[in-house]
């Protein structure tokens, strides 16, 4: 504790006390395909960080590492102060209850109704609450995303945008401290996409959560990002605010903003 006083200022930038996710020197390859090469980055409380990168650059792999779905070959990951690569299953599940994950393909359980999809999330984390409270929570969360009327529908009956909202509701029901969004607007028309972005901002406001957003939708980047991280060649190639990034004169970065 007292040691912190003697840390030089340059080091303090790297280790702030409000850091909620810290990824250090991450390496991951699939066979010969080197996806992440010495990637390091941080997420601080209350901010929205957008990770920009080409398709196949390893963005999904990166956030899946953060929640223990993919094990990196090397490196360390701290989430809410816990080194998740060293945790026992029970401990890991406790962290997972605090971190929401919106999957690129929504990952709604097709064999369950919307209600069951949301309930599953609550029940499985063994949170002790009565059925009445569960019903209440499901209803409130669906209200947040504006889809209470779909409560007894199956996911196949919903449109793409609605499915995204339900997936978001399922992520939100545990009131996570951190939310990881994997391409929340990809595959949606611009108007629906904008709706999702507004919803994300509203949630951010309401729950005061921090989030990592993966995207290549410039609209999304401009509207939500407090900070942008460029994932190029498997590493954190550059970072800064949206304004800073678009002014950078690097050809690899310029590509994204043409």
């Amino acid at each position: 504790m007292t040691e912190e006083l003697f840390i030089p200022e340059s080091a303090l930038i790297k280790k702030r006390s409000d850091e909620v996710i810290s990824v250090r020197n991450l390496y991951k390859s699939f066979g010969k395909n080197k996806v992440l090469i010495d990637f390091s980055a941080s997420l601080y409380a209350g901010e929205n960080v957008v990770v920009l990168g080409k398709s196949g650059s390893g963005k999904s792999v990166l956030i899946k590492c953060n929640i223990g779905l993919i094990r990196p070959d090397q490196g360390s990951i701290e989430v809410l102060g816990k080194r998740i690569l060293e945790l026992e299953q029970d401990e890991l599940d406790k962290i997972r209850a605090k971190v929401g994950f919106l999957f690129q393909s929504n990952a709604l359980y097709d064999s369950m109704t919307v209600r069951e999809n949301l309930e599953f999330q609550l029940r499985r984390h063994r949170i002790k609450i009565s059925q009445q409270e569960v019903d209440e929570l499901v209803k409130n969360t669906l209200e947040d995303v504006g889809l209470v009327h779909t409560i007894d529908m199956m996911p196949v009956e919903l449109s793409g945008g609605m499915r995204k909202r339900i997936a978001l509701a399922r992520t939100l029901i545990l009131k996570p401290e951190i939310i990881l969004y994997d391409e929340p607007t990809t595959g949606l028309d611009p108007i629906t996409g904008k709706g999702i972005i507004e919803l994300m901002l509203a949630i951010q406001n309401k729950y005061k959560s921090s989030s990592i957003i993966i995207s290549h939708d410039m609209n999304c980047v401009r509207m939500v990002s407090d900070r942008v991280i460029m994932l190029i060649d498997g590493a954190c190639y550059a970072e800064g605010t949206y304004e800073e990034i678009i002014k950078m004169n690097d050809p690899k970065i310029k590509e994204f903003f043409e």
Binding site: I67, F103, Q104, S105, A107, D110, R124, H125
Partner: protein, 256 residues
């Protein structure tokens, strides 16, 4: 020594299936037990395949009886018809045919279901919801398949023998009671028990192969189709292999 690519892949996959089976045995007895999901799967698996097994069983019994009659008539042992059909169905044809149908129906549906859950990240979603997907999805399905196939085969055998009763009665009349008496007089415990025991293994093979193929489905809808398809092919072959081993064992133990 370099193995041809196909052979190497075969051994690779056999090893992977063995590992997968090992994982099943190392996980099934540890808590948390997914009891509700297990019973749900039993219901789904049993209920889904019952009509098909009933229908094919019935036809099989009927046809087998009609086909056997001319030969028996030739040797003047027509009265042995129920006994022969009973033994054939209970010992061999019933378990194997029904297991194959079960593989076609349940193996493919487990393969396709888990495969599509895999490619649409539903399995990942389960994992982050504090659920062990292997236990929740695989252990329950494999157990349900192992438990339900024997039940289905017993029911199927009974329906099949009833079909055979009708077959006997197409020409010549046998009373219902006499028919059953003839069947049970000729069926010993040593006919029923080994046949019953092997159906557990058939069910297990169908469950584990379907789950394995689904869990290792490659991306895309084509990958899901392929898992469903190869789940059926591989488990059907396995059923015959298990049958072959079972007959050797019963032979060695003198159950014949």
């Amino acid at each position: 020594m370099v193995l041809p690519a196909k052979t190497a892949r075969f051994f690779q996959e056999t090893g992977d299936v063995a590992k997968f089976t090992g994982r099943f045995f190392s996980q099934w007895f540890r808590p948390r037990y997914e009891v509700t999901e297990f019973f749900r799967q039993c219901f789904v698996i049993g209920y889904k395949s019952l009509p098909l097994i009933g229908l094919t069983g019935f036809i099989m019994g009927l046809v087998l009886t009609m086909q056997l009659r001319p030969s028996l008539v030739e040797y003047g042992v027509e009265s042995q018809l129920p006994a022969m059909v009973g033994i054939a169905i209970v010992r061999e044809i019933g378990p194997v045919i029904m297991a194959l149908i079960f593989a076609g129906k349940i193996g493919s549906s487990i393969g396709a279901e888990l495969g599509s859950m895999k490619v649409t990240e539903q399995i990942d979603a389960m994992e982050v919801s504090g659920t062990n997907p292997f236990k929740y999805l695989v252990v329950t399905r494999v157990f349900a398949a192992t438990m339900m196939l024997p039940v289905l085969v017993l029911l199927g055998d009974a329906i099949s023998l009833y079909g055979s009763y009708l077959g006997v009665n197409i020409r010549g009349i046998t009373s219902f009671r006499l028919y059953w008496a003839q069947i049970f007089d000729n069926l010993a415990f040593s006919d029923v028990i080994p046949a019953f025991i092997k159906t557990f293994f058939f069910g297990f093979a169908v469950g584990i192969i379907g789950s394995y193929k689904g869990f290792h489905s490659s991306k895309g809808t084509e990958g899901v189709g392929r898992s469903a398809n190869s789940a059926v092919v591989v488990s059907s072959i396995l059923i015959f292999i298990i049958d072959l081993i079972a007959v050797q064992i019963t032979d060695l133990l003198g159950f014949n």
